[in-house]
């Protein structure tokens, strides 16, 4: 288990906003930079709650092996698929230019 972590700087918030793809304003960054440390202080107690021997629970109701047969069902029509698109062209979703590749 890693060391208890505390503190979150304004630069951290800028970095997190980048990861979360939210173009936060300066005022929002200031606000979150002052608020998040308080929230983190309140949730930090979880770090001391359980030992290494306690397994983490990702699913509250244990059900394994939920599969679907490999049988095709109808898709949406392209019109339905594109109906809510902010922009489309040539039966495709039109998005602004993409800078980097994945």
């Amino acid at each position: 288990m890693s060391e208890p972590v505390k503190g979150i700087s304004r630069d951290d918030v800028v970095h997190l906003a980048g990861l979360a793809r939210i173009d936060l304003s300066e005022a929002e960054l200031d606000h979150l930079a002052s608020e998040l440390p308080l929230i983190l202080e309140h949730v930090a107690s979880v770090q001391q709650a359980a030992g290494d021997d306690v397994p983490a629970m990702s699913h509250p109701v244990p059900v394994d092996n939920v599969f679907r047969e490999d049988v095709v069902r109808p898709s949406l029509t392209p019109e339905e698929a594109l109906a809510a698109a902010p922009a489309s062209d040539q039966q495709r979703f039109l998005v602004p230019k993409i800078l980097g590749e994945s």
């Binding site: 990702s58 092996n65 392209p78 979703f93 998005v95 993409i98």
Partner: protein, 499 residues
């Protein structure tokens, strides 16, 4: 920056550095439906016709795992000699990209379905063991078409058009541990490994394994360490490697490029690079940085997968013969020498010869065509043997025409041309091009008479028992018949008449 770097010749680079490779292969499964939804997976369908709320990531939609994909993953894992996890989960890999509808990829992180396997590949008679770290299940992304700009490539595009038909198609990613082999063998071993995996997975029937269509994609990770050092260098990750030959070339190029940077005292940038088929070089893509933080966590929307041992053993029984065993069996059946076999495998002709033999041709004749005439054509055009436009059944049909004495080897080449050009079946090409050999003894006999009359010296020498000179007379007859004669029969007629 990297465009101006100097390259160190491959052999020279190896005098100062040892390459360390890692290979990642993505296999697109040939399931009828996607990984997490029941949309079809047809290749080349009209854009956005194979999408639904799940694979478009519409608000509220939820994934359900395709049973067939899990089965295929387990069979692949077993074929790669992996252990199959008793219990594993999917995980979300979080990053934003417009071709990925959820802005996370549903993948597996520290709990792959298959792990700790190995395969053995052969290069120049030596066997190399490649350790498999893991094989895990994940999903493909959509495809973006970059519009505008000078090149139609991503850089300089004005906007992009996205088709999500491919989004959610099941992928299995196979990751090797680091591969360290004799430095000069590295490119060939990389190629042999990818070819081996292609054959192995193809034999399972779980994927089309077509590199040209992207159903098998190889990424080459490479770094260099100075001779004698144990410290690993910074690695590059080369994508867009679309043929076996390109795998080999990409390794060679990256070794030369890395050596150039290191020789100049520079630092290799950790980045994704793209292989350029036309030049055999790589160009930089996205730089990897500390900012890459995928925030993996177990996928709460999917149930864990815990394949029973009984199921795993059942699937093990469905595995085809391992490639090495199969090759040994075929070599014995066919009576091929080690060299024949090596050439066959090296040319990627094994399955083609198997199918040609199954269609009724002798192994020797099948080998003659695939490693001779077909290999020559493939070399000329730079294509793989299986994409020349001629099938094993067609080769068998042409050989049958030869065996029946209706055409000869030389005419057969013309028949191949016709078949490849789409003129019809071999039979139709023979008729259409008027290629049938003259087997009418009357017509042949007249031509033989003319040849004997035209070269009395040669005729006399044959009469005197110097049979080697008969070749000149046969040549004259074949010339007169414009090649459309059975040379064996012509020889017989000449010898009859001069005996």
């Amino acid at each position: 920056m990297s465009e101006t770097e100097t390259l160190v010749p491959f052999e020279e680079a190896l005098t100062r550095y040892d390459p360390v490779m890692g290979l990642e292969i993505h296999i697109e499964l040939n399931t009828a439906t996607k990984m997490f939804c029941a949309c079809p997976t047809e290749f080349g369908a009209e854009p956005n016709t194979q999408v639904c709320p799940v694979c478009l990531a519409l608000p509220g939609a939820l994934p359900v795992v395709n049973a067939k994909a899990v089965e295929s993953a387990i069979r692949m894992g077993l074929a790669l000699n992996c252990d199959i996890a008793e219990w594993c989960r999917f995980a979300r890999k979080n990053y934003f990209y417009p071709d990925m509808p959820k802005n996370f990829q549903t993948s597996q992180y520290d709990e792959p379905i298959a792990h700790d396997g190995f395969v053995e590949v052969e290069v120049d008679g030596e066997t190399y063991r490649i350790e498999i770290e893991r094989a895990h299940m994940e999903e493909d992304t959509g495809k973006a078409l970059h519009v505008g700009g000078a090149t139609g490539r991503i850089h300089g595009a004005d906007f992009s058009l996205v088709d999500y038909n491919r989004a959610g198609i099941p992928l299995i990613e196979i990751v090797t541990r680091t591969i360290e082999v004799p430095p000069d063998k590295a490119p060939a071993v990389a190629r042999a490994y990818v070819a081996y995996v292609r054959d192995l997975i193809g034999g399972l029937g779980v994927s089309d394994v077509r590199m040209d269509q992207g159903s098998l994609r190889a990424d080459v990770n490479l770094s260099l360490k100075p001779k004698g050092s144990t410290v690993l260098g910074t690695r590059s990750e080369t994508k867009n490697v679309n043929s076996f030959r390109s795998v080999e070339r990409a390794v060679r190029f990256e070794i030369s490029r890395h050596a150039g940077i290191l020789d100049a005292g520079g630092k290799v940038v950790q980045e994704t690079r793209h292989f350029q088929e036309d030049t055999g070089t790589t160009l930089p893509g996205r730089e990897k940085s500390d900012a890459d933080d995928y925030r993996y966590f177990p996928e709460p929307d999917l149930a864990p997968v815990s394949p029973s041992r009984e199921w795993v053993e059942e699937l093990r029984l469905t595995l085809p013969e391992p490639p090495a065993v199969r090759r040994a069996r075929l070599q014995a059946d066919w009576g091929f020498s080690d060299l024949d076999m090596r050439d066959t495998i090296g040319a990627g002709a094994l399955d083609l010869i198997v199918e040609t033999v199954e269609a009724g041709t002798t192994p020797q004749a099948a080998k003659k065509w695939w490693l001779g005439e077909m290999a020559r054509r493939a070399n000329e055009t730079g294509e793989d043997l299986d994409s020349l436009g001629i099938t094993p059944a067609q080769v068998a049909e042409i050989q049958a025409l030869i065996d029946a004495g209706r055409i000869n080897d030389k005419l057969a080449r013309s028949v191949f041309d016709g078949v490849i050009a789409g003129e019809g079946t071999a039979e139709e090409v023979v008729v259409g091009r008027g290629l049938e050999v003259v087997s009418d003894d009357g017509a042949l006999g007249a031509a033989v008479d003319r040849a004997i009359a035209g070269d009395p010296d040669a005729a006399q020498k044959v009469r005197d028992g110097n049979l080697g000179v008969a070749g000149a007379l046969i040549g004259a007859v074949m010339k007169e018949m414009r090649g459309q004669a059975d040379a064996g029969r012509v020889r017989e007629l000449i010898l009859e008449k001069l005996s």
